[in-house]
Symmetry: C2
Subunit: 231 residues, 2 copies
Amino acid sequence: MRDRPNVPIKPAVRRTTLAVDVVVLSPRADALAVLLVRAPVGAREKWTLPWDAPQPGEGLEDAAARIASAALGTAPAYFEQVGTLSDGRRHPGEADVSVGIAALSPASADAPMEEAEWFPLAGLPALAPRHRTVVDRAAAVVRQRVDQSPLAFRLLPPTFTLSDLQAVYELLLGRRLHKASFRRALQASYLVEPTDEWHSEGRGRPAQLFRYAPRKRRGARRGVRFDLFTE
Amino acid sequence: MRDRPNVPIKPAVRRTTLAVDVVVLSPRADALAVLLVRAPVGAREKWTLPWDAPQPGEGLEDAAARIASAALGTAPAYFEQVGTLSDGRRHPGEADVSVGIAALSPASADAPMEEAEWFPLAGLPALAPRHRTVVDRAAAVVRQRVDQSPLAFRLLPPTFTLSDLQAVYELLLGRRLHKASFRRALQASYLVEPTDEWHSEGRGRPAQLFRYAPRKRRGARRGVRFDLFTE
DNA sequence: TCAATAGTGTCTGTTAGACATTATGGA
DNA sequence: TCCATAATGTCTAACAGACACTATTGA
């Protein structure tokens, strides 16, 4: 241990305004979609992310669940922070710090409330700059985590076909996957188990339904993956 | 587009107090270490994470740089948010929302200021519960990102031996790596380039020094890696 | 029967990990 | 010389991706 100072650090807290911005993501019409709500921005109404300030005593994830539920009609299955922004208040009544939270909602979830609507990620209307940033970060975080965390299962109903699962992975990763390799890797992962049910969707052979049921498994491969670096 | 509601959502902002907690990480004595400072906690002095409220107009990362510099004497090379906590104010003068930020400082950085000290992650003194959480999250985030982002190079001086680099990876991953495989993967990644210098450290053959110099490279492998799931 | 989708077996090129070997310094 | 560390070559088992094939439904 070293000498103690005689000028201890004693920071002072400062008042600020806080908002929680929620990016509810769900696969809709073969694209990853974001839930937006109609809300007044200045004098007019525009589409914006659902947001609100946390209530006293309410945690950030609790606030996100409440905010998402108000737009979706039901609570999403999964929440994850995607970053806190402090770009300063631009207009009176706006917050100067906002916590961005991504939420995942299965494709089977009910239609949104009347004042809300799904928009594909690639075709969003104009958003406030901060909301645009939060959406981009949410998409990036979800895409980055998809093969390190079982996120994909939060975008599917409790039972699903392996083709459904692969389609979600392809949505999140933004590229096609090889069917046989995908199933081999999935088999080795012990993440799903088959059910007794089959799903028939018009033409073609019916597909067996699976459920998410992670189990113990042998040690994963160990190598360092430099090749995932993006920069 | 659907019917517009006649009860638009208009959330109200609310005043809150904000803190930035900084976890400066650096490899020290063959372990990943955290920088702590002496600061008053209630009536006594304890070791705590460096923290402060952001100043008016100051961004969160700017605040983290200022806070870390005050304890370290120099600014860390890299910052990354690890989560925002809102577990409620427990004592007067404490913040009720805190943004946790991890900072990486190379092993070669100068000794910390007098009121600060490095502690190995495994041997930290008792911290406030919120600070303990932030430290754990910082360690988890850094360990998770190490093979998706060139974090390891932020923990090394500008030039380093491949054994140094491997040691940092082993610290972050918490396991030993195979030397030949490590170098093969590194070679294929085009992340480093050799310099003309060699480093001799007592016994043994001198090692060539390398520097971080990422370049273009062929497409990365494409498979889905279910086996990295932790849950 | 054809079309469409589900699901599987086999081959091959690539690579992680193991092992062995050489290289080069200090004691 | 011995020891310690650096650096590299070779072998093998495992695996990703490609391809081909069978299976099962509706039209």
